[in-house]
């Protein structure tokens, strides 16, 4: 007897992932995209949740935090010795502890990023091929030194003390910059950070564009996750590569169209609320006495690091 059950439902499902090749592609691109977009949503939620708690840095005026953050970032990039960088690391660590941030989660992320962008990128420079100096750990000995196309390969290739010091310096700089940046982010809501940039004379127009973009990134990211989940739910096997590419391009076009429609809606809403083209963000309240004292202490500490 003929039934109306679609053919794909009658096939025995395979526990193995679809193979590549033959013009077909597995559906990993959907999973990867879901992971990317869900990662943004997750990260913003963690930051928002952490920023809404109470702690030493949470309660500090955002303007003081933002100016201290940028001040310290500049000091970190100016310092050329390991000792002040270590001092900065310990200072930020103390601020993280005082702010009652989960140390394991916080430093897990910092060390991972620091390892990739600080250590891994700079590590090859510890070889005497790049940083000259006394070889502490030889790894290869050639029959003779080589010179070609302006490159010099010494007879003994190995790690130098000077090279290790460069790697340590760059890794510490990256770790310090990330630590202070994430400390601010985990203790301050992002819109507040953007608003506080007003004290640095960043134009209101630019700040409002960043704030609006940030808000809509999450709204559209949610839509994209839903589109991918819906697609994944409808797929039962590998799809043709060209078909998959066409689908992704279609979703990008859909998001583009959606952003354009939203642009019109937002503009109409702005006009409806009396927008005449002039942008003015509201000023903050006055900075409290406690914030001035903490701010003074932090900036003195910063100056100390600058001077050391």
């Amino acid at each position: 007897m003929k039934n109306d059950i679609p053919l794909f439902l009658l096939n025995t499902p395979s526990s193995h992932p679809p193979k590549r090749g033959g013009g077909k592609i597995n559906i990993s691109y959907i999973d990867k995209s879901i992971e990317s977009f869900a990662g943004i949503l997750k990260e913003s939620y963690i930051q928002w949740e952490s920023a809404s708690k109470t702690g030493f840095f949470h309660e500090l005026d955002t303007r003081i935090k933002v100016v201290f953050w940028l001040f310290l970032i500049v000091i970190i990039s100016l310092k050329k010795e390991l000792l002040p960088e270590l001092g900065i690391f310990i200072t930020v660590f103390t601020l993280v502890v005082l702010s009652r941030i989960n140390l394991v989660k916080f430093y897990k992320k910092i060390f991972l990023l620091g390892f990739i962008f600080g250590f891994l990128i700079s590590f090859p420079s510890s070889l005497n091929v790049i940083t000259h100096g006394e070889v502490l750990f030889p790894i290869i000995t050639l029959s003779k030194p080589y010179d070609f196309w302006g490159y010099h390969i010494p007879e003994v290739i190995g790690f130098t003390g000077e090279g290790f010091s460069v790697v340590a310096m760059l890794t510490l700089r990256v770790l310090n910059s990330l630590s202070i940046s994430f400390l601010i982010l985990y203790t301050t809501p992002f819109p507040e950070i953007i608003k506080a940039l007003k004290v640095l004379k960043v134009p209101d127009t630019f700040l409002i564009i960043i704030s609006l973009a940030y808000k809509y990134i999450f709204i559209f990211a949610r839509i994209v996750v839903d589109m991918h989940l819906a697609k994944k739910n409808r797929l039962v096997s590998a799809v043709k590569s060209a078909e998959a590419r066409n689908w992704v391009a279609g979703r990008i076009a859909f998001i583009f169209r959606k952003t354009q429609l939203k642009c019109d809606d937002v503009f109409k809403a702005m006009v409806g609320r009396g927008f005449s083209g002039k942008i003015k963000l509201y000023q903050y309240q006055k900075i409290m006495g406690r914030d001035w004292i903490v701010g003074f202490f932090l900036f003195t500490l910063g100056l100390l690091f600058l001077w050391v």
């Binding site: 500049v74 990039s77 790049i130 910059s177 127009t205 409002i208 564009i209 990008i252 169209r257």
Partner: protein
Amino acid sequence: MHIPDGYLSPQTFVPLYGASFVFWAVALKKLKKELSAKYIPYLAMAAAFSFLIMMFNVPIPGGTTGHAVGAGIIAILLGPWAAVLAVSVVLIIQAIVFGDGGITAIGANCFNMAVVMPFVSYWVFKLVKGNAKGGARFYAAAFLAGWIGLSVASVAAGFEFGIQPMIASGPDGKPLYAPYPLSIAVPAMAIEHMLVFGIVEGMVTALILKYFVKHESELVYATKEA
């Protein structure tokens, strides 16, 4: 290609902030004139779109997936000046919220990915496509726009890294910032971007443009212009 904090000396990141600032000011002025008061939501939505386009994993021939920087396709879709601001906003958000790229390096990253890349991609596209409105030449132009745009931006980043040992070394000759000289930094950045990431960028640019031209051709800035 996001440069982290600590790799560029102040002698490099301060002028690059200045250069980016000039492009931001001109772009803002141009768009304000073109779109009147609507430029604010327009740029915000363009930035949101630019951010999202970078997150899509696109299946590419060969069975793997990749994602693009997207500055090239954004310049073709929205115009190079809108791309300057949209991609810059994205890079600023990425640096502050996700730690992708340093705070001191925002100027440099914006210069490479939000100024150099959109303009190179846009002009390569215009130059190669000529009067073509479709067909092989048109899509080859889109591929080359993405590929060359990213490659040139990577060379710019490599150059910024490579000059550090020359302009910022200790008295003993020890590099204080990015340690690789021009002879290593530029080829390293150029080769990996020309052979791997640039090809993915080119494919993604051509793929997205192909869809737009087929279904939403009226939305493409680069084909609207005479």
